[in-house]
């Protein structure tokens, strides 16, 4: 298969696992808060692991440019959160019915999706098998994210089909950014360390600004720290195995 097709297929797969998160809502049984906490911790670990592997390649070769890219990624994510007013909102409230909350959740999901897409594309550049694993990790992470999004949208009166559609739509930027990153970054001379750095900065900022604080709100620090570090170690170990 053409490498770019591999990127397309797996990035799309990652985006389309989102409706799976909506399925449990139909059974009307509440998701225990601790599970949401662990799902967030798992996602944070995957993100930090991917950031670590991307940083390992870029920072060692071009430390200054990659670090500058990372600071740009942090600044961009921080400012876009601030400007849209989602900097400090709780994203896992299942009882919220305010429609503006639903829009904010959609916006944040889109922002996460974009950063995850960049990570998938850049991981594919590292090596295709490793990129596939990162895409699968993001696919797993999109399920609980969509569960939250879904329950918020459902409670504001949206039907299941439209809810599933919006959950996929929030993640669709991921496919585009994965392909763009994979195709364009190596074609522009000197862009690689900047782009790698940017993704590292964005991913770590998201892990510390949203995933981890929400995880700590829902389960004890020991279980959250264990899930996060095991997930990080898992991605780092996979990079060692899959060359």
């Amino acid at each position: 298969m053409d490498p770019i097709l591999v990127v397309l297929v797996f990035a799309t797969l990652a985006a389309f696992t989102a409706p799976l998160g909506i399925l449990p809502l139909r059974s009307r049984t509440a998701v225990p808060p601790a599970w949401l906490g662990w799902a967030n911790a798992l996602a944070a670990g995957f993100m930090l692991g991917a950031a670590y592997v991307i940083a390992e390649t870029a920072l060692v070769a071009h430390p200054v440019r990659a670090a500058a890219g990372a600071l740009l990624g942090i600044a961009y994510t921080h400012l876009s959160h601030r400007a849209s007013g989602v900097g400090d909102i709780d994203l896992n409230r299942l009882d919220e019915v305010d429609p503006t909350y639903g829009y904010r959740i959609l916006f944040v999901s889109g922002l996460h999706g974009a950063m995850e897409g960049l990570a998938i594309g850049l991981a594919m550049l590292e090596s295709l098998p490793f990129g596939i694993l990162v895409a699968l990790a993001m696919a797993v992470h999109n399920v609980p994210e969509a569960a939250v999004l879904g329950s918020v949208l459902r409670s504001s009166g949206l039907g299941p089909v439209r809810t599933a559609g919006l959950a996929v739509a929030a993640n669709i930027g991921q496919v585009l950014l994965a392909i763009v990153a994979f195709a364009i970054v190596p074609a522009v001379p000197g862009l690689l360390p900047w782009a790698f750095g940017f993704a590292v900065g964005g991913l770590t900022y998201l892990a510390f600004s949203e995933l981890l604080p929400e995880a700590y709100d829902r389960a004890g620090p020991v279980s959250i720290a264990l899930v996060t570090s095991v997930a990080t170690g898992f991605v780092v170990l996979l990079r060692g195995i899959v060359r």
């Binding site: 670590y52 940083a55 390992e56 920072l59 060692v60 430390p63 200054v64 670090a67 990372a70 600071l71 942090i74 921080h78 959160h81 601030r82 900097g87 400090d88 590292v200 900065g201 770590t204 900022y205 510390f208 600004s209 949203e210 981890l212 604080p213 700590y216 709100d217 620090p221 020991v222 959250i224 720290a225 264990l226 996060t228 570090s229 990080t232 170690g233 780092v236 170990l237 060692g240």
Partner: protein
Amino acid sequence: MVQVFLFGLVTALATGLGAIPFAFVRSVSPRVVAYTNALASGLMLGASFGLLAEGAEFGRLATLIGANLGVLFVLVAGKLLGDHELEFGAVRGEDARKMTLIVLVMTVHSIAEGVAIGTAFAGGTTLAIVITAAIAVHNIPEGLAISAVLRPRGASIAACAGWSIVSSLPQPLLAAPAFLFVGTFSALLPYGIGFAAGAMVFMVLVELLPEAFEAGRRSTIALLVSVAMVTMVLFQQTL
């Protein structure tokens, strides 16, 4: 031999310099604790990145096994320290437990660094001064991380500098034997490096960050952690 020890001692003393910026921090508000925790977290995560990247060159699996042992160490030490009525200077209770744990984790992490210095010297002593200078400079932000945890909880500035230096003492003490028995120690190095990184990352995740998020704004904490981390990595990779 004596030279290796003396060079190691200089690097330990440099750690004390990290306490200096905290001469101006006096407030003990939970918000200050939150943000100094975030600063320490970023610095420790950045330092762990450098260690893991170095460990991967020696052996990825050995580094990862070491990291798991480091996690276990923090879990057990944190639990054991919680069982005792601790005093850290005039401080008691939960704060004293956290202060003891950070000094312990940073001291244990210096063991791996000491071994790294010793084995580096065995490669040839012509670059000795350069290596020492580089490690001494690396130690300053580590002193900063320790002081960031100790100072807002009521430790004096002298205590911050003192404990920072104590935490680095394993460097000269282990650099010498590592230099003499380089074969044995270089086989153990990836485990030690992994252990140090695992312990620091877990300390951040289980102690520093949860406390930070209770009292500070998420976006400010995320900004502090990620910027401190990137700066630390840049600092370590370029110097």
